[in-house]
Symmetry: C2
Subunit: 116 residues, 2 copies
């Protein structure tokens, strides 16, 4: 009787296919870390807080320099990082850019911690 | 009739005492940013995730190097940052150190985003 090697259960499955590492995957961790990196700066947290509490839900960049006592190039740099991380939305109207929270962004970021 | 200056409303209160900057304060922003800085690294997020999902709620440092494919000194460095940020607890037993989540730490961190 001939052997049927193709139908035999593979005894060395574990050696062939190591189980995935536990916890969140490397790619997901990379994406999540990028959002927390945007939040890992006190001036950016203060900007988010000011925009969140602004009347009408948006702030002109011209109103954000004084509370933080920073120059406009520095404030614009921090705002760009928050926009790139998907936390703030930027709209140019006339001379000035206006910033508002991306709806649900802070809640989604909080959710990332619960699904770790 | 004499005036009663001490009972008159102070017309120049605003000039005397500028209102506090809007949003969260500088000191609070500094503390919050420090926690997010600990989370702003993919390897640290993966470590948190593995410890969170570990049987018995704790992981030996000896079990954390392989899933991340990092050396033990690097893993210990990341774990120390997570302990210093108040996210992980470290307990030495015999040869090894064991790490567990500080109860409520991830939920409190998520809450920081809601109170910005």
């Amino acid at each position: 009787m001939t052997s049927l090697p193709l139908l035999e259960p593979a005894a060395d499955t574990a050696a062939c296919c190591p189980p995935a590492a536990p916890g969140i995957g490397a790619a997901e961790a990379q994406d999540t870390a990028a959002v927390f990196k945007a939040l890992a700066d006190p001036n950016r947290l203060r900007l988010l807080s000011i925009v969140k509490g602004a009347e009408g839900g948006e702030s002109c960049v011209c109103d954000l320099t004084e509370p933080l006592d920073l120059g406009q190039p520095t404030v614009s740099h921090h705002l760009k990082i928050l926009v790139d991380a998907g936390l703030l939305r930027r709209e140019k109207r006339g001379t000035w850019a206006y910033y508002s929270l991306v709806p649900g962004a802070l809640e989604r970021t909080a959710g990332l911690l619960e699904t770790l």
